[in-house]
Each structure stands twice: as structure tokens, then as C-alpha cells.
């Protein structure tokens, strides 16, 4: 393989250092190894406390690995000799959008918020202006440029947060349960932006989520359980094994289960079957087309 992968993790172990007295020093990640190529769209599943956020923080250099290596675009970020400039270069390449939009905003005006990242990178004023306008446009928030973020809805805040990362022109974005605090409309808007960023702009996406329907939109699904990756494959492959997901304390919605099982049996089913209504419709059309031969 000639191209260096965007993210390569080798035998990554992590232990939170004695922070809270008893019960600490527990290993959270037990030797993860995986590779994410440029332009991939990965969904990372795992129940609460399985170590997803920890992994993301390790990749953002917020935490240092206890053992193992993380290569971002070929640079070993576990190297303690890394200079400040190299650290900034890594963080510029990899952005992260968090769960709570309120806790990641620094500015009192939407466009100032978006400008924060580029300002930290020391980009000239005129170029920051241009990047901010582009980023706000990309998330459909141009008319809110002068608004106070505290007056926006959750979904709008999260779109501003995404714009703040986009303005730094990252190669890869981690979304750490970024939709989980949003209302249905907010989720829909944010998911559409995530899909589009990957499809049209080729941004590598690593979407940490609890929502199977959201995970199903990715091209690859990885399941983290108790600090190990237990499943890694296309959504079809992963969702066709509900018992295994169950063991990881993840419940696949019934309609998704049915659809993926049918798919695994070789039936033609569209990609975006997520609601029970869609599911019923798909089965009806299958029956109608006479494709069903088994009793």
C-alpha cells in the first residue's frame, strides 16, 4: 500500500491514572489495532463506558497512550518528543465535535465562534473571514452569523460547532455522540451534513454513536466492547449478527434487524430503510415483486 493511512492505531492500551482513589487504574482500552484510510466513513458503536470517548481523546492528543502507537498521517502522536508545532499540526488535521454543544463554544457571536480555530492557527484575518463564510455556508447557517449561540436551538448550535471545525480545514472529523442531545430535526440536519461532508468533500468521518440508524449510514461499522473491537465490517455484515451485538449490550431496532437479515439472504433492499413504515413498505414491495420464494 503506497498511501499512508490517515489514522493507524497499533496495540493501543490506555489506563486512567489514579484519579479518584479506589477502583482507579483500571485499563480502559486493551490493545486496539486498526486503520482508517483517507475518505472513510466509520461509525463506532459501543455501550456507555466502553471507551469510545477515551479513544477519540487519545487520537486528539488530549490523553497519552499507556502503551502502543497512534499514527496520524504517518506521524506517531504518542511520541513524547513531539514539538508544539507538530501537536498543532495534528490537531489541525483531526477535528472533534462533542456531545454537548453548549460546552464547546467559546464566543458570544456565531461567526466569532467559527473563527476561533483559524485564529488559533494564526491565519491572516482576510483568510479567516473567507473560511468562516464558507464554513457557515456549508452548514447552512450563514444568516445566523451575527447571532448569539446561546439563542440558537441545539441543532443550530451543533451546526455552528461543525462549522468551527470545518473552518480549520481538517482531513478527519470525530463526532462524539454529537447528535445525542438534539431533537429529531436537529439530528436530521446534522446527519445530513455529516453524510455530505464525507460524500462531497471527502472528509474522513469517525462517528461515535448509540443510534443504529445513524450508524447504518456509514460505510463501515466498528463495535467497541469493554476496550476491545469485537466487530468491524460493513453495516450489512455487522447488523446481520444481532446476537453478537446483543452481547455487547447494543440493541438493534427490530426493523433494522429484519432488513439486514433479508439483505443477508440476498434480497434487494434500499439503503435507507430505517423506520418501521419504510420496513413494511419494503417487505410489501418484495412480496409484490414475487421475489419471495421461500415459505
Amino acid at each position: 500500500m503506497s498511501e499512508t493511512p490517515l489514522l493507524r492505531v497499533e496495540n493501543l492500551k490506555f489506563k486512567y491514572q489514579n484519579t479518584g482513589g479506589k477502583g482507579s487504574d483500571r485499563e480502559v482500552l486493551h490493545g486496539l489495532s486498526f486503520t482508517v484510510e483517507r475518505g472513510e466513513y466509520v461509525a463506532m458503536l459501543g455501550h456507555n463506558g466502553s471507551g469510545k470517548s477515551t479513544l477519540a481523546k487519545l487520537c486528539m492528543m488530549i490523553l497519552d497512550p499507556t502503551e502502543g502507537h497512534i499514527f496520524v498521517d504517518g506521524v506517531d502522536i504518542a511520541d513524547p518528543e513531539l514539538t508544539d508545532a507538530q501537536v498543532l499540526a495534528v490537531r489541525k488535521k483531526v477535528g472533534m465535535v462533542f456531545q454537548n454543544p453548549d460546552n464547546q463554544m467559546v464566543a458570544t457571536m456565531a461567526e466569532e465562534e467559527v473563527a476561533f480555530g483559524p485564529e488559533n492557527l494564526g491565519i491572516p484575518s482576510a483568510e479567516i473571514r473567507q473560511r468562516v463564510d464558507e464554513a457557515l455556508k456549508a452548514v447552512g447557517m450563514s444568516e445566523y452569523a451575527k447571532k448569539e449561540p446561546s439563542r440558537l436551538s441545539g441543532g443550530q448550535k451543533q451546526r455552528i460547532a461543525i462549522a468551527g471545525i470545518l473552518a480549520m480545514h481538517p482531513d478527519c472529523i470525530f463526532f462524539d455522540e454529537s447528535t445525542s442531545m438534539l431533537d429529531p430535526q436537529g439530528r436530521k440536519d446534522v446527519m445530513e451534513i455529516i453524510d455530505r461532508l464525507n460524500r462531497e468533500d471527502g472528509v474522513t468521518i469517525i462517528h461515535i454513536t448509540h443510534d443504529m440508524n445513524e450508524a447504518a449510514r456509514a460505510k463501515r461499522v466498528m463495535v467497541l466492547h469493554e476496550g476491545n473491537f469485537v466487530m468491524d465490517g460493513t453495516p450489512e455484515e455487522v447488523f446481520a449478527q444481532p446476537e453478537k451485538l446483543d452481547a455487547c449490550r447494543l440493541t438493534v431496532p427490530q426493523c433494522t434487524q429484519v432488513m439486514y437479515r433479508l439483505k443477508a439472504l440476498g434480497f434487494e433492499i434500499g439503503d435507507r430503510v430505517t423506520t418501521p413504515e419504510d420496513c413494511a413498505e419494503a417487505i410489501r414491495s418484495l412480496l409484490g415483486s414475487g421475489e419471495v420464494r421461500h415459505g
Binding site: 481523546k57 486528539m60 488530549i62 508544539d84 498543532l88 490537531r91 489541525k92 477535528g95 472533534m96 462533542f98 454537548n100 453548549d102 460546552n103 464547546q104 463554544m105 467559546v106 464566543a107 458570544t108 457571536m109 461567526e111 466569532e112 473563527a115 476561533f116 480555530g117 483559524p118 485564529e119 488559533n120 492557527l121 494564526g122 491565519i123 491572516p124 484575518s125 479567516i128 473571514r129 468562516v132 448569539e148 449561540p149 446561546s150 439563542r151 468551527g164 471545525i165 480549520m168
Partner: protein
Amino acid sequence: MKSISLGRYYAADSVIHRLDPRGKIVLTILFIVSTFLAKNVISFALLILFVAALSLLSRVPLSLILRSLRGVTVVIIFAALINLFLTNIDQATFLVEFGEWNGRMYGITVEGLIRSGCMVLRIICLIIGTTLLLTYTMTPIELTDGISNLLHPLMKIHIPVDLFAMMMSIALRFIPTLSEDAERIMNAQKSRGTNFSDGGLIRKARALIPILIPLFVSSFKRGEELAVAMECRCYHSGDDRTRMEVLKWHVRDTLFFLLLIALGAGIVLINIFFAWIPYFTVL
């Protein structure tokens, strides 16, 4: 959702609003000095003229301007009374005599009246001028930006001005979030039966504890997450940060600056050349 308006910014598009925040901060200091230099009826007239012009130019409604005085009514009345009765001038012209005490005559004098009037005018001008310049026409963020810009040279002697500015703007940013938190916690505690309105001062203060503790916990949690998010967005202290909006100094800023210098100089000159007009040193 209630919104707390900090500093009562009055949104309008006026010359005063558009002045450079750095300039406005320095102007305010010059203005305060000028009000204290004024010691003479003519210089007070000049001061009043300036404040009136400022008010007109700022397009802030008169009612709002007068409202800024409400907080200092007690101070004004107190200053007026002190100057009225305790003026110690040898040859005072008494209008009303209250009586002698410790070998001194007390009462209302012409000098006392004039001096008290000047003091009241001085305080009124001071308050109106500074609130107009610093709060009604300047957002807290502009104020922070202006101060940090002015203090920027201190970075050379390793005073972390940029960090203070960042702390200040984050504090401003979190005021609405934390006040929402407080409201939510208060409602939660109320629904559990905490009584916030009855009882004496101590009981009321005690009732605040179940609000303050969760509020502290939640703000620490927010703070921790914010720190991580800022680090992920490459935040670091140092001189290599740039800004999207760079403050620009315009001709109008220079003009206002000259105007204030002229005001200060005028007041000093009037003090010197019109010294024969009753000259009042106040407090």
C-alpha cells in the same frame, strides 16, 4: 428563557457606537479627568455641553440616559447635603442661619449652594458620560477586546494579557448558560420542597446552598469539557494568534480624541484665566 443583559448595551448605529473601543476606553479616562478638573462655572458649562453633544450623537434615548443616574441618587443627595451644610468658607453669605456650634456658624450659604450644585453636576456628567461611552454604546466583548488590545504591550514583560482576555470573554459567553442552569436547579429544588422565599436573611442564605453546590458542580463539568474542546481546536496561549476582526483606527476616532483633549485643555485654561469668577474647590 430570560436573558440577562449585561452592561445594558443599547443597540443603535451611531458615530459613538462605531468609535474604536480602544479609543473609547482612553476617551473615558480623559473624560473622567476633565470632570475633576472642572472647578468653575464656565468649565462646568463646557462639560455639560460636551455631555449633551455626546448624548445626542449616541442616539440613546433620554429616558435610558437618565435611568443610568438612578443607581447613584443616594450618592448625589449625600454629596449635595455635605457640600451644602459643611462648606467651610470664611466670609460666607448666609441665607439661613441654623446656629453656632464650636465657634462656627452653620446654615445655608450662597457659596454652599453653588458648590453643592457644581458637585451634583459633576457627578451627573461623570455618570452619564462614562455609561454612554462604556456601556450603552459598547458591548462587553468590545470592552474586553479594547482593554486587552490596550494592555497588549504588557505581554512583553510576560503578563498574560491574552489569557485574561480569553477568561473574560468566556465568562461573558457562559453567563446565559449558567443562569439557565441556576434556574433549572432552582426549579428542581423547589419541586423537592425547598422554600426560597420565606424566613429571615440567614434562612434565605441557607436555602441558596442547594442551588450553589449543583451549580458549582455543573460549571466545573462544563469548564472541563470546554477546556478539552478548546485544546482540540488548537488553542494555546502566545503571540501567534490572529484575529478575524482587527480593530481599525479611523479618522473619526482621531477627531473625537482631539475633541476630548480640547475639552480638558479648555477646562484647565478656563480655571486659570477665569479665576476671578467665584472659584470652588469641591471636596
